[in-house]
């Protein structure tokens, strides 16, 4: 769900950078150097996880995993996603530096928002946890698609149709992400419940 460089208008690009800078700043402020390595290694794990291609009917799509990342890292998901997208720009040239702000906010904003909204459910047991995790996965992708669509629509009337298509195309991905996130959180709760303690409580 990367917007490529050259599409968005000046104000949208500037807005993306401003919002992302604030999000990254807040995320870093809460993150002390003692936990930096944990966030870095988990961020690497998410980078790798997002290369997983899953079949959805006749096509295959890669996982996005921003909901799961938010559930595990809380606000630190913001800098983690920023770092991952910067690495993608450097290693694969997916998007440049100018559009990075907008792309980071589109992915990380929903991740942290879902973590706050559904975080409390994640530390309960059984059904509540599964529902919370599904919602994290589902809504993080839904919101990301909506934000991406808004960024496009705000950049010019010509992009409105594209924006709608993006949201529609992501509906099956939302369902798969929700399901995969719910199952993955179930496994994590069994094997390493410590991993879920950083989800925000409020």
């Amino acid at each position: 769900m990367h917007i490529s460089e050259g599409v968005l208008s000046g104000p949208v690009l500037a807005g993306g950078w401003a919002l992302s800078a604030v999000g990254v700043g807040l995320g870093l402020k809460r993150l002390d150097y003692d936990r930096l390595m944990t966030v870095a290694i988990l961020s690497a794990a998410f980078f790798v996880g997002s290369l997983i291609h899953v079949p959805i009917g006749p096509v295959s799509a890669h996982l996005i995993l921003n909901g799961l990342l938010g559930a595990i890292l809380g606000p630190a998901a913001f800098p983690a996603i920023a770092v991952a997208l910067l690495l993608q720009a450097v290693l694969f040239q997916y998007g440049g530096l100018i559009v990075l702000g907008a792309n980071v906010f589109d992915m990380a904003g929903p991740a942290v928002a879902c973590a706050f909204a559904f975080g409390p459910l994640l530390r309960r047991a059984g059904k509540a946890r599964a529902v919370g995790a599904f919602c994290c996965g589902f809504f993080a992708v839904l919101l990301a698609a909506l934000l991406t669509a808004c960024a496009l629509a705000l950049s010019g009337e010509g992009f409105v149709a594209t924006a709608k298509a993006i949201v529609v195309a992501h509906v099956p991905i939302m369902l798969v992400e929700g399901a995969v996130t719910a199952m993955a959180v179930g496994f994590l709760a069994k094997v390493r419940p410590e991993l879920l303690v950083h989800a925000p409580t409020r």
Partner: protein, 255 residues
Amino acid sequence: MIDELLARGASPIHALDARCRLTACLLLSLPAAMAQGLAAPLGILGLGLLLTLLSRPPLGVVLRRTAAVNVFVAFLWLFVPAATPGEPVWTFHGLTVTREGLDLALLTTVKANAVFFCVLSLLATIPAPALGRAMTALGVPAKFSFLFVFTYRYLHVIAEEYGRLVVAARLRGFAPATNARTYRTYAALLAMVLVRAYDRSQRVYQAMLLRGFHGRFPSLDRFRAGWPDKVFLCLMALAAALAAYGDWISRSGHA
């Protein structure tokens, strides 16, 4: 799976100071991304191609990456020409392609590719560890740069671990399809990767303590910008300024 195919090399571009390349990349991308007319991004596209040529990348990699970037652009071409209001040039089954729509799609294509070639020649040629140091040197918070550098460090370790898990799944007859068991398997693989990443991070933290870590990452300083770096940066700044000025002129000309 994850390889920096462009970061190693002996070209004149690779010889430049990483801070200069990063700054130049930003300076050139900005007017290209913001332009309203075709001239400025076309100029920067030309310069980007020249720089790419100078950085002597493997042709196959360049072609593959170019194709990947233009997938999103192609997606835009499906919608934008018919969705932009304006002067109709062609009507087909109720869809009206407009001149403004075609112009917008073309402009977007040129801008996307202009920035892409700047990134390809100037940013992708910097090894990630050097990029981390360059970011700190240019004022990015040190915590962010370290996060970047360490994420990069463990990317390969974890990618290899994941690769071995996938091999294990295939050896036991796993064939992905659209069904619940496939998703369950991927969720399990993902959870295993995360658990192992977390456990590893605990061990790495212990290793850091053992080597005297006390809440602060030190770093070796090793930048040296010579006159070729300065000349290069000045030239790129000049090109960027020219592009921005040209675009501003053409904009006020239209108005």
